[in-house]
Structures are given as structure tokens and as C-alpha cells.
């Protein structure tokens, strides 16, 4: 029955689309096999730039964000300035649209013409992504840290560990495990946002497709780019599913290993 209803729905939608008055034009503009084959290799080589950006940025994001989350979790009045700093950072960079951060850092900092400060758009684009995504990811970490039961911290302290040692050996390892799915969620977001670095002049997959679109007035290269991004994120999503399932299995198995 599910099969029948799905088939009916798909057929109705397909017929509606194909019989719409603009279909021939849309087909020519978005689904041109010739344009697809012509643009795909160039877009794929542009995509390598995206891959480099998100792989390098992700490393810095994971470290920086954990630092911010830890700062936010420091107890006691003495650490208030550090906590406040972390809160301000997160509020600020989660609030500003990523595009603006990229524009401001990518065009603004090089305009200062400071000696020794890099002017590479790739560098500043990646920095902007690190700055923005660290704010998001630190919140994910914080949620993970908060989800670890307080008795764990108390137990760590009673064993003679300092607060930081307790975080390092007891709380953070448990917290990170719990937040792997949302971390990967943000990682996928980062992958897609690498396209924004194009604004600074970098030719990556999206920009390459835009170039091809404008050269031919045909939109098929956009579809090719979309396909490449999806092909990367789907295996990633399945990998996350597998990680979570494995973790669950181990927890349910219980006992020492």
C-alpha cells in the first residue's frame, strides 16, 4: 500500500511538472546533459578547495570551541571575567551573519595594510569560518558537559583530581561522546558554508559553477555542485549513525571490557 501511494504521488507530481508551460525551458536550463559533462570536472577540482578549507578549519574549531566551553564551565566568582568573555564571544559570533564576518575579515583586515599580517582571502575566509563555527560548536560542547551528571564531578574531586583534571579525564570524554551527532551536524554546516569564501575571490566549487552559469546562461552547473556536496554529506551522515549505534551497543553491553 505504501508503495502504491508513493508511486501515485510521484507520478502526479512528475506529470504536473513535465506538463507545466515552462518545462521545456527549465529542462534546457537546469538539466542539460551536455553542460553537466562540460562543467563537472572543473567544479570537482574547485571542490578540492572547499575540502581543504573545511578540513583545516574543523581542526581549529574543535579545539577553540572546547576551550570556550571549558571557560564557560569554570566555577567560582574568580573566573567571572573569563566566563563573561566566553559568553560575549558566543553571543557575538552566533549573532552576526557568517557572510558579514567573512566580508569584514576578508576585505577589512587586509585594508589595514599591516606589515606581516596575511592578505590571502583563503586565509581570512577560513579564519572567519573558524570564528563563527567555534561559537556554535562551543554551545554543543557546553550542552554535552552540562549533561554529565554532577555526581561525576563530585566523584572526580573526591578522588583528589583538580577541577581541570576532572574535566579532562572524567567529564569531557563522556560529554564529547554524547554530542558527536550534533558535532557532525555542525561539521556538515561548515562544509556547505565554505562556499561563502568565494565572496573574497576564491574560486571554489560554487564560484566555479557560477562562472560556468554566467558563461553559458545555463543553470546545470549549479545542479552539479549541489550533487557534489550531497554526495559528500550522505556518507558522513551514515557514518554518524554508525558511530551512535556503536556507542549505544557498548553502553548497553555494560560491564568492563
Amino acid at each position: 500500500m505504501a508503495l502504491v501511494s508513493t508511486a501515485v504521488l510521484v507520478t502526479v507530481v512528475a506529470v504536473l511538472v513535465v506538463r507545466s508551460p515552462g518545462w521545456d525551458e527549465v529542462k534546457q536550463a537546469f538539466f542539460s546533459r551536455e553542460q553537466f559533462e562540460k562543467s563537472f570536472p572543473d567544479i570537482l577540482s574547485g571542490f578540492w578547495t572547499n575540502v581543504k578549507i573545511f578540513l583545516i578549519a574543523e581542526v581549529f574549531i574543535l579545539v577553540l570551541a572546547l576551550g570556550i566551553a571549558v571557560l564557560r564551565s569554570l566555577p567560582g566568582p574568580v573566573f567571572f571575567p573569563l566566563r563573561a568573555l566566553a559568553v560575549i564571544y558566543v553571543d557575538l559570533f552566533r549573532g552576526i551573519p557568517t557572510v558579514l564576518v567573512i566580508y569584514i575579515l576578508g576585505f577589512g583586515v587586509p585594508a589595514l595594510q599591516l606589515q606581516g599580517v596575511p592578505i590571502s582571502p583563503l586565509f581570512w575566509g577560513a579564519v572567519a569560518l573558524v570564528v563563527v563555527y567555534s561559537a556554535y560548536v562551543s554551545e554543543v560542547y557546553r550542552a554535552g558537559i552540562d549533561s554529565v551528571h554532577p555526581s561525576q564531578t563530585a566523584a572526580a574531586r573526591s578522588l583528589g583530581l583538580t577541577h581541570l583534571q576532572g574535566l579532562r579525564y572524567v567529564v569531557v570524554p563522556q560529554a564529547v561522546r554524547r554530542v558527536i551527532p550534533p558535532l557532525l551536524n555542525d561539521f556538515i554546516g561548515l562544509q556547505k558554508d565554505t562556499a561563502l569564501v568565494a565572496l573574497l575571490g576564491v574560486v571554489e566549487a560554487f564560484r566555479q559553477s557560477q562562472i560556468e552559469v554566467a558563461a553559458t546562461f545555463n543553470y546545470t552547473p549549479y545542479l552539479a555542485t549541489a550533487l557534489i556536496f550531497v554526495l559528500l554529506t550522505i556518507p558522513m551522515a551514515r557514518f554518524t549513525d554508525w558511530l551512535v549505534a556503536r556507542d549505544k551497543r557498548r553502553q548497553l553491553a555494560g560491564g568492563a571490557r
Partner: protein, 287 residues
């Protein structure tokens, strides 16, 4: 009294219309009567260009908040002047021409176009003709390179000399195609969303040379980046690059507009407007 007032108003309006309409209506083009044209809005020419509209293609400044830099309704600047000349040949008064701001990348989007024609220095290429209709050329264009006077690129005298530099252009322009097809520099060229971003990159020294069509260099070197200069004009490669008006595909209006453009070329109007608005030479052609 009211009657006299009305009569006066009518008279003033009539006079104003004549004044705006310019000299007496020119000879109509056979078979292209105003009422027979295929238009977005009957009795009106709905035209579109990019916003901001840059000098020297558009000129005269802007008092309207809808338009940055230049308002296309001024009739000043090469493209604005050509648009109103074509409109006049087709029998439209200035008041019957309306303008819309449409970004370049939207000008060729599939579907019904909201304009009769689009003009924003769009180059005609065979591939683009699959998606839109173009008029015949209203301008034959050369590309040029702009660089900072303080940079070593300022001393380049040949096409081969440009190879070692970081060049940049606006996305989707034939300027970019020229870099990758004919200059083939050793560093990957940078590509920007807008002319303004590309100019900012030049100022920041993120690129050494900016490739644009030659007439646009005047505004860059004169206003946007005062310590820059035109390194040189780039020779045409292959077919001469031309600017054409963009129409909905299969729009019969193109035929009448082409007749109007031919008339403007034959009676020397295009040449006159070219000298008036774009008439600047001097930069060497690089070989």
C-alpha cells in the same frame, strides 16, 4: 476660472512633454509601429539594468533612492543615451520609458522576463544565445588591465609580462573568460561577486591586476582607486567582442530594435555617443 486653469495646465503639460520628448518624433521604422510591438506593458518600454549603474555607461548621478551612483532615466552615459535613442526611433517619448534594477545574474534566469530588454554591458556569446535573445551590437568592446601605479605590474608592456601576476575579475564576465582563455596566468585568478568587491581587492593588493572592459577603467582609475592606472588594453582574440541588449528568447521585439540600432549606426548617432561618453583613448594595446 477653473476652466482657464485646466486649459493652462494642459498647455504646460503638453509643452513639458514636447520638451522632454526632445526634437520632433523621427521617422518611424516600417513595420514597427508602437502598437504592434510585443511589450511587457502596452504603450511603455520597460527596460532594466544593474544597480549600481556605473560610469561611463550611466552618468548624471542619482537623486532617487532606488538607484546608486547613477539613475538610468537621466539619458546620460553611453547606455542610457543609446536606450533613449532606440526608444525614440521606436516612437516612445522619454516618459514612456521605465527602468527596473535587475542584477546581472538574474537577467538570464529562465521564465518570463520582467523587462523588454536588459542592458548592462552584456557580451554576446554563442552559448548565451541558447538561453536569451540578443540584439545586434551597440558597442564593440576591448578588455583592459588596471593595476596600482606602485606595483611592478605598472611596468608591464606585453601580454606575456602579465602571466606572473595575480589577476582578478567580476564573476560571469567575459573579462574573466579572457584571463583564463588567453592570458593564462601562472596564479589562479580571483573572482568577485561585484565590480566593487574586485576594486576593493585591488586596493588591498589582494590582486595585482583587475581586468575589465576598457571604457569602465576610467571610473576605476579616476574615482575608485586614484593611485591606479590602465596598464594596457587587451587585443580582441577570435571574434570581436560585442555588447548586445538581452531579450526574452524568441521575442519578436528584437527585430525592430535591431532595425533601430542599424539606423543609429548608419546616421552616425552611435559614433557620436561613443565619442561623447566613452571617448577616451591613450592606453597602449598590449601584444
Amino acid at each position: 476660472m477653473v476652466l482657464v486653469g485646466l486649459a493652462l495646465t494642459t498647455l504646460v503639460l503638453a509643452l513639458a512633454t514636447t520638451a522632454i520628448g526632445g526634437p520632433a518624433a523621427p521617422a518611424q521604422i516600417a513595420g514597427c509601429g508602437k502598437s504592434s510591438l510585443n511589450l511587457v506593458e502596452d504603450g511603455k518600454l520597460s527596460l532594466a539594468t544593474d544597480n549600481p549603474a556605473f560610469d561611463p555607461w550611466w552618468s548624471g548621478g542619482s537623486k532617487s533612492k532606488d538607484w546608486e551612483l547613477n539613475d538610468p532615466t537621466t539619458g546620460k552615459g553611453y547606455e542610457s543615451a543609446v536606450a533613449y535613442e532606440i526608444a525614440r526611433r521606436l516612437g516612445f517619448t522619454r516618459g514612456q520609458v521605465t527602468w527596473k534594477a535587475v542584477p546581472f545574474l538574474r537577467s538570464f534566469a529562465p521564465g518570463k522576463k520582467p523587462f523588454d530588454w536588459y542592458m548592462a554591458q552584456v557580451s554576446v556569446t554563442p552559448e548565451r544565445k541558447n538561453a536569451v535573445a540578443f540584439s545586434t551590437s551597440y558597442y564593440n568592446v576591448n578588455q583592459a588591465v588596471v593595476g596600482l601605479k606602485t606595483s611592478s605590474i605598472a611596468r608591464v608592456r606585453s601580454l606575456a609580462g602579465l602571466k606572473q601576476y595575480k589577476l582578478g575579475a567580476q564573476v560571469g564576465t567575459t573579462s574573466y573568460a579572457y584571463i583564463t582563455k588567453y592570458l593564462r596566468p601562472s596564479q589562479q585568478p580571483a573572482v568577485y561577486d561585484s565590480n566593487a568587491d574586485a576594486v576593493a581587492a585591488l586596493k588591498n593588493k589582494q590582486i595585482d591586476g583587475l581586468v575589465v572592459d576598457f571604457p569602465s577603467t576610467g571610473f576605476i582609475t579616476g574615482v575608485q582607486v586614484p593611485n591606479s592606472k590602465v596598464i594596457g588594453r587587451l587585443p580582441s582574440q577570435g571574434a570581436q567582442e560585442v555588447f548586445g541588449l538581452v531579450f526574452q528568447k524568441r521575442n519578436p521585439l528584437v527585430n525592430c530594435v535591431n532595425k533601430a540600432i542599424r539606423a543609429l549606426r548608419n546616421d552616425g548617432t552611435l559614433r557620436r555617443l561613443d565619442v561623447r561618453w566613452l571617448g577616451k583613448t591613450g592606453a597602449p594595446i598590449l601584444k
